[in-house]
């Protein structure tokens, strides 16, 4: 399961991913993060985020190995980025950012953030109405769709990040890094490049149906 990567630097860090039953500690190398930054630049360009625009990322620290390449990828593509925690209390911060500045994209919105807006009695349409790309995680996606918004799927699929390039379109992982399989309705992930931790048909917390080897539709209603 473990492949050795030629890299004399210490590990980038030990993050976490979900395998469907628990959050698993995940040692990650600098080389993996650097490769993912390149993938993130392409993902954001595919979304149509251009230099001079802004992206707000809703993240948790344990997800830093997923998000850090995306943040730096937005910067390398010439966009500005902001950060909020993907927690209910930090809905206040998400609301503050989108009220004060124009954001092309808010990505990583989860159910906790929406719960926070519920507590603040802020409607999702009011908060996100002027944001053209809302990248929503399973559970949040359905709630935003239910009020008439058109979010993009954004899915932490085990150690991989999958994002749609169109509202309602399938979520896609970096084809240079990952291959997906489906077993009993659950998405499994295999790494195709050398990694500190190799993945071979590793189960994820995500249920869905494959479109091809790198993209899938998450099952709606599976997470609320």
């Amino acid at each position: 399961m473990t492949a050795t990567v030629e890299d004399t630097r210490p590990l980038w860090g030990i993050a976490q991913y979900e395998d469907g039953t628990r959050r698993v500690p995940w040692p990650v190398s600098h080389a993996e993060i650097e490769r993912a930054m390149g993938g993130a630049v392409s993902t954001l360009a595919g979304l149509g985020v251009t230099a001079g625009e802004r992206v707000l990322w809703c993240t948790l620290l344990s997800e830093a190995a997923h998000f850090w390449p995306l943040l730096i990828g937005s910067m390398l593509g010439g966009a500005q980025f902001s950060l909020a925690d993907a927690t209910a209390p930090d809905a206040l911060r998400v609301g503050m950012f989108v009220r004060q500045l124009e954001y092309r994209a808010v990505i990583g919105v989860n159910e906790a953030v929406l719960d926070g807006f519920d507590e603040l009695e802020r409607s999702y349409r009011d908060v996100f109405g002027a944001v053209s790309i809302v990248g929503a995680r399973p559970g949040a996606y359905e709630r935003l769709t239910a009020v008439g918004l058109t979010p993009y799927w954004f899915v932490l699929c085990g150690p991989a990040v999958a994002m749609a390039t169109l509202p309602g379109g399938p979520a896609r992982v970096d084809p240079n890094e990952w291959a997906l399989t489906e077993l009993d309705g659950r998405i499994h992930v295999t790494s195709t490049q050398p990694r500190e931790t190799a993945f071979d048909n590793t189960p994820t917390a995500i249920r869905g149906s494959l479109v091809d080897e790198t993209s899938f539709y998450p099952e709606t209603g599976a997470h609320s």
Binding site: G13, G52, L61, Q80, D85
Partner: protein
């Protein structure tokens, strides 16, 4: 080796002064030229950067900026950066935000390209000072909105172990500690200390085992109350206090555990009479006034932080020559009850002495600067809703005993107070 960078950390006072003056000489014309609020403030005071030829000129002549000035600029001119942005807006790579303890978070634009990244070099000195070493693993437990705290660990050459700042998830902290055996921990607050203690109990973890690999733990946010401090002492790992320095720099305790060093090569600090402009004496209570010497994106110049500290420039027994401070509280945090000033720090020990209120979550309710009677809003933990009358009596008695003044007490669940703040602290004074 005692130091990460011996030359930088042990410079003589004369060298530090010379370095500060040289950096001021670069910063002041830059800020005056590019920051609208600095330009307006200095023009109004009739002072120009070329008038500043010595540190004495600076402290005698340079005008102040405070939180209110920034707020007015932000609101009146609809400038989200409060007139501080000194680089073209296109050069801004990152827009973060303040924690927002005492109001809505404010925007903090940063230029990671120009600064070479998000992490200041001085933080490596701090990690070394507390006993961490390159190659170590360091547990990072913090929220994400302030930026990549894990970057300071990576820059230092250590490996961050990442754990969410979630009081409900500290069993994971115990598991990660046992599996990866970190030597350092950043960061603890009262809330996280209590949560780890509860997780150890619920998960059947022996704290001695969980903490056996740690050599240093950093506490950030509010100072720990005596009760949380007692729990930490039981873990047997040195605790190092950490605080921000006027939104300009940071300060960490050294192994002497007597004051927090900040690096004077990136932050110029004065300690002034909170109601005036004169410096207070060594180790006396004053208001921290900070000037950025390195941050060219949004430099604060003579920023009256509202933080009350004690400060000394006397070199520390640890050998470091950079000044040390001791956080005391916030200016205006107190309330005057029948002519006597009472600060949150004065009330704290009484609150947490009551078992049901042991997390020390409380606010002074200040409807006016002077009041006849002390009013407190106090948090209680789960499982005591059926005996709140008795809890209230206990709180009133404990406060009366300590302060010789019987307060009015409103009890609310701990969770309600935690919602009011960023995760690591709550506003300690509320207008109602």
């Amino acid at each position: 080796m005692t130091y990460f960078d011996e030359v930088a950390e042990t410079r003589s006072r004369a060298d530090l002064d010379a370095m500060q003056l040289e950096r001021l000489g670069l910063m002041l014309p830059h800020a005056y030229e590019h920051s609208p609020i600095v330009r307006a403030t200095w023009e109004e005071a009739g002072v120009h950067p070329r008038d500043i030829r010595s540190l004495a000129d600076f402290t005698e002549r340079a005008p102040f900026i405070d939180k209110e000035t920034l707020r007015h600029w932000r609101e009146d001119r609809r400038d989200p950066y409060a007139g501080l942005l000194c680089v073209p807006v296109d050069d801004v790579t990152t827009i973060l935000s303040s924690s927002g303890t005492t109001g809505e978070p404010t925007l903090q634009p940063q230029d990671w390209g120009a600064s070479g990244g998000p992490v200041r070099a001085g933080l490596s000195r701090d990690l070394w000072m507390m006993g961490m070493r390159p190659g170590d693993r360091v547990m990072v437990v913090i929220f994400t909105f302030r930026g990549p705290a894990f970057g300071m660990v990576q820059q230092f050459g250590a490996v961050p172990v990442l754990c969410d700042y979630d009081a409900g998830d500290m069993i994971r902290f115990c598991e990660l500690s046992l599996e990866f055996r970190p030597t350092g921990l950043y960061s603890l607050s009262s809330m996280i200390v209590h949560a780890i203690a509860e997780a150890c109990e619920q998960g059947g973890f022996d704290p001695t085992d969980v903490f056996s690999s740690y050599r240093a733990m950093v506490q950030a946010g509010e100072p720990l109350g005596a009760r949380a401090r007692g729990i930490v002492d039981g873990w047997g790992v040195p605790l190092f206090e950490h605080t921000g320095v006027g939104d300009v720099g940071t300060a960490f305790e050294c192994p002497e555990h007597d004051g927090l060093h900040f690096w004077e090569d990136d932050t110029l600090v004065e300690n002034l009479d909170p109601e005036g402009t004169e410096p207070v004496g060594d180790r006396e209570r004053g208001e921290l006034v900070a000037t950025a010497l390195v941050n060219r994106t949004t430099p604060l110049i003579r920023y009256r932080s509202g933080d009350i500290v004690r400060l000394t420039r006397v070199p520390c027994p640890c050998g470091r020559t950079h000044s040390k401070l001791w956080p005391v509280g916030r200016k205006g945090d107190g309330v005057e009850i029948q002519g006597r000033k009472i600060l949150p720090i004065d009330v704290w020990p009484a609150i947490e002495s009551v078992d049901e209120c042991s997390r020390g979550l409380f606010q002074i309710v200040r409807e006016a600067p002077q009041m006849d009677r002390l009013r407190l809003r106090v948090g209680y933990g789960p499982g005591c809703a059926d005996r709140l009358g008795a809890v209230r009596d206990d709180v009133m008695a404990a406060v009366a005993d300590l302060l010789d003044a019987v307060p009015e007490v409103e009890l609310v669940p701990d969770a309600d107070l935690l919602k009011l703040g960023p995760p690591h602290k709550i506003p300690r004074v509320a207008p109602r």
